[in-house]
């Protein structure tokens, strides 16, 4: 563990333990009580009962022991619908439990195991051990012949001439740094603190263009750019739901007012095929892995035109190094033909080294971006294996060819940014992969392009990192390197490289419009918005605003940029971008708390969701704001709803629009409070609309005991609440009745 992590762990340990001090062991768990419990009950509980309670085909079981109350299994639910337009301090009566007419159907656990088809990813395993033969063979295993060497025409970047050249470069940089422990930070020293994931990105919803015609509307992934698909943990095609649970991809049929599990693509099968054939590495799966529980923490998918692409990322440890945790992450895309929903057929599997950063699908082409850490530790023999990332196509693996490895000047030598492109979601598709030396990035795409922005630091700071293992990264004195790639014709090519001050928050910090790129960053002097041309030269900028604050959300909409910065209060900046050479701040609004997600809804109104606050900082409330930006010089917050002790999932993909009902649905986790005492959290979905310039909370659906945040989607008048770890509930939005539910086992 690196020094930063150790220090942080120490800090949170202290805080957690201090927090835990106030927790009192209840009487029922005292030594005496436990002794009594054992005496009275030993033998009443069989190990099988506890371990199989959640097993498939057994529905639900309840552990009934004399020492505790028996839980009722009847499905009961309590529904409250908030109906008033605006409510202040209303004392709502709580309705009592109602017996649902669905109770009978609930009992069996709604597990229609018979119709479920288990899919085994067929991977086409060849003897994947091509590592040795690769050394002498510079050919790219994906079919690029030696004759078609990739030519690069970007200043300051060249391709590698050989593997030796790369290894030498890495060794040289390592000697210079001369600090062995630092290379064990898997994400690399030069990764920006914001670089790696898209999580929590504020939304930038494309204009809704679906017609409200005769086919029922259904939920679509809230994507940054219309036409450019983003992967998500749930997908909806208007009849089937595709949910990436920790067991695998569950395909659920929602027809005929019921939920039916149609197929399961097992996670185990998706990830097992990754791990054979690497020469010399010893890798064994434990039972936990086989159970799928710890298999892959990346689980996202695409569903388009009868094709399903599942993305998984696993860590392959390498036990040859006894004294450090070396290994690598490998990210894989598995493509299925789902013309027959009950029997998905694998068409192709492609993996590339590195931990998943992001992906997109545009015009049927899937781009995959990962960050690959180079394991060296001064061990030259190890470096021969790890200096260059590998790819694997349907079981045939090999290193990326030297001419597909791009080396920018002054690149950090601890990581690669790897960009893979699958031309078609079909068997035998051509695949191109390039690796760029240097760390992870935020990714943006507006079509057949990819923009990658990653932090680099000045040599001075780099020296500090090497020598002392830490740097005051909070000063954000770094710059960001911007790389522009073209994905045309199924080939990844670097087209431009630029540099801007500051670091980016996430994918929404970038935008493309009318031939220009716009980028929002934060640095030590303040916050900036840059306009760059296609060659990534800075054309215009506004810099240094809100010094000392950090960008919390960004939204580029046509000729205007909305930027939320925060330290104690949230200034919302409105920036006029109509002249690329001269972006200008028009207006500013200071309010408590901050928005992490901005969603324009027309009529110059923007919804913001995020955290509430007071004059001195953020509090424990979730907040929904409504901004009027009709006058850019005076943006106003015209309404806000504060939800006590609650938490909104501000991941942009979690924001669901239901245009047919003029409604928005967000995952909201509420705290159940009794006076002063916090009892527990209840996850759920909250639906609201904007009426007469006010936020109106419509319905809230909450789920008593699932642990995770719920995601929502809908088809017609049915809303589906999905807990990817657990199952799906279908509720009629008009009658509020529970229609059906399925549990994933």
């Amino acid at each position: 563990m690196n020094r930063k992590d150790k220090a942080f762990l120490k800090r949170i340990s202290a805080e957690l333990k201090r927090d835990a001090e106030s927790i009192v062991l209840p009487d029922s768990l005292s030594t005496e009580s436990i002794a009594e419990l054992i005496k009275n009950n030993a033998g009443a509980v069989s190990p099988d009962e506890i371990y199989t309670a959640a097993a498939p085909d057994k529905g639900f079981k309840v552990l009934a022991t004399p020492a505790r109350k028996v839980l009722a299994t009847a499905a009961v639910f309590v529904l409250i619908v908030a109906s008033a337009l605006v409510y202040r301090n209303l004392d709502r009566p709580v309705l009592g439990p109602e017996q649902s007419s669905e109770a009978g159907a609930q009992e069996s656990g709604a597990d229609t195991g018979n119709s479920e088809t288990d899919i085994h990813a067929s991977g086409g395993q060849t003897d994947g051990n091509k590592g040795d033969s690769d050394k002498k063979d510079p050919e790219n295993k994906q079919g690029e012949s030696a004759a078609e060497k990739y030519q690069i025409k970007v200043d300051g970047v060249k391709t590698a001439s050989s593997y030796d050249e790369i290894e030498n470069k890495i060794k040289k940089a390592y000697k210079k740094a001369n600090s062995p422990g630092l290379f064990t930070n898997f994400f690399g020293l030069f990764a920006t603190k914001n670089a790696v994931s898209d999580e929590g990105a504020p939304g930038n919803i494309a204009e809704e263009s679906r017609s409200l015609g005769s086919t029922p509307g259904f939920g679509k992934t809230n994507e940054q750019v219309e036409g450019v698909s983003e992967a998500d943990i749930i997908k909806n095609d208007g009849r089937y739901l595709y949910i990436f649970s920790n067991k695998g991809v569950q395909i659920v049929d929602t027809q005929d007012n019921s939920l039916k599990k149609t197929a399961l693509i097992k996670l185990n099968d998706l990830i097992k095929a990754n791990t054979s054939g690497e020469s010399g590495s010893v890798y064994s799966y434990s039972k936990a892995f086989n159970d799928g529980y710890y298999g892959s923490d990346v689980r996202e998918l695409y569903v388009l035109n009868n094709r399903l692409a599942a993305i998984t990322s696993i860590y392959e440890p390498d036990y040859r190094e006894n004294n450090s945790s070396t290994g690598k992450s490998v990210t894989k895309v598995t493509v299925f033909d789902i013309s027959d929903k009950a029997a998905p057929k694998e068409l192709l599997s492609y993996s590339q080294d590195g931990y998943y950063v992001s992906s997109r699908i545009y015009n049927g082409r899937l781009s995959l971006v990962t960050e690959y850490g180079i394991a060296y530790y001064g061990n030259d023999a190890l470096l021969e294996e790890t200096a260059v990332p590998k790819t694997d196509v349907n079981g045939a693996s090999g290193r990326i060819a030297p001419d597909s490895i791009l080396i920018p000047e002054d690149a950090s030598t601890t990581n690669y940014l790897v960009v893979g492109l699958i031309d078609k979601l079909e068997k035998g598709s051509k695949i191109d992969t390039k690796a760029v030396l240097g760390g992870a990035a935020n990714i943006y795409s507006s079509g057949d392009n990819l923009l990658a922005a990653r932090s680099i630091y000045s040599n001075e700071i780099a020296a500090n990192i090497f020598n002392f293992g830490t740097t005051s990264m909070t000063t954000n004195s770094g710059k960001s390197e911007i790389l522009a790639f073209s994905l045309k014709d199924g080939k990844v090519s670097l087209t431009a490289r630029g540099l801007v001050d500051g670091t980016l928050l996430n994918q929404f910090s970038m935008d493309e419009s009318n031939g220009y790129y716009r980028i929002a960053t934060t640095d030590s002097k303040g916050n900036n918005v840059f306009v760059l041309d296609k060659e990534l030269n800075v054309k215009g900028s506004v810099t240094g605003f809100a010094p000392g604050e950090q960008i919390k959300s960004v939204r580029f909409m046509g000729n205007t940029a909305y930027v939320v910065t925060f330290v104690q209060t949230d200034p919302l900046f409105v920036i006029d971008m109509s002249d690329p050479a001269k972006p200008v701040i028009r207006g500013e609004l200071k309010i408590p708390g901050f928005s992490q997600y901005l969603h324009p809804i027309g009529n110059n109104l923007i919804i913001g969701i995020g955290r509430g606050g007071t004059e001195t900082g953020v509090n424990n409330d979730a907040k929904i704001s409504l901004f009027d930006v009709s006058d850019p010089t005076t943006p106003r917050e015209i309404d806000a709803v504060s939800l006590k002790y609650s938490y909104i999932d501000t991941n942009h993909k979690a924001f669901l629009s239901v245009p047919e009902r003029n409604m928005y649905v967000i995952p909201l986790r509420r705290a159940l409070i009794n006076g002063d005492v916090y009892y527990r959290d209840i996850p759920g979905l909250t639906a609201f609309s904007v009426e007469n310039r006010k936020i109106v909370i419509k319905d809230t659906y909450t789920f008593e005991e699932t642990g995770s945040m719920i995601r929502g989607t809908y088809i017609g008048n049915v809303i589906f609440a999905i807990d990817p770890y657990y199952g799906v509930w279908a509720v009629n939005m008009d009658s509020k009745e529970l229609i059906d539910n399925v549990i994933f086992n």
Partner: protein
């Protein structure tokens, strides 16, 4: 033979009191862990009781006192997981009448409420949260956690590092 091993011997022999004494060394840690995993007192109590009963039933498979702690936590961890996965079949729709339009009041947040750290913990996946809790709260080393969860210790290390990084970024707000 040490006193502890005597206790284990007795517990194996069916001595409930001896077992309870062994348990008492870890009682607080077990309860806290369950509470952070399941986030409510009732479930945490039930989970600890489940784990204890199960452990007593299975104690014949335990070899020595040193292994007791991680073995017991492993059982508790599984009980918590089962509880989370099992939960309830039925949704409960609750009132959100305490949602109110902002009045600008400065609320006095009760001390018993979650801190920002705990909230950030909640944004982790259940598996990652568990690893962080076992490490930060219960103080286990990664090889111990690996043993409890049944996965390679390098996996624990890399997941822990990733989870800490994620938490660190959020807390920098």
């Amino acid at each position: 033979m040490t006193e502890a091993n005597t206790r284990v011997q007795k517990a194996i022999g069916g001595d409930a009191q001896a077992f309870a004494e062994l348990y008492s060394i870890y009682a607080k840690d077990l309860y806290r862990f369950a509470l952070y995993c399941l986030k409510n007192e009732k479930d945490a109590q039930d989970a600890v009781q489940d784990a204890v009963l199960l452990a007593f039933t299975k104690i014949g498979s335990l070899r020595n006192e040193a292994a007791f702690k991680s073995w017991l936590f492993k059982i508790l961890s599984n009980c918590c997981k089962t509880r989370l996965m099992k939960s309830s079949a039925s949704p409960v729709f609750l009132d959100i009448s305490s949602a109110e339009h902002i009045t600008g009041d400065d609320e006095n947040i009760p001390a018993s409420l979650k801190s920002e750290l705990l909230e950030v913990l909640d944004t982790l996946s259940a598996e990652d949260r568990e690893i962080v809790l076992l490490s930060a709260l219960a103080g286990y080393k990664s090889h111990e956690i690996a043993e409890m969860l049944g996965c390679p210790s390098s996996t624990v290390r890399s997941r822990l590092a990733r989870a800490l990084k994620k938490m660190r970024e959020q807390l920098k707000d």
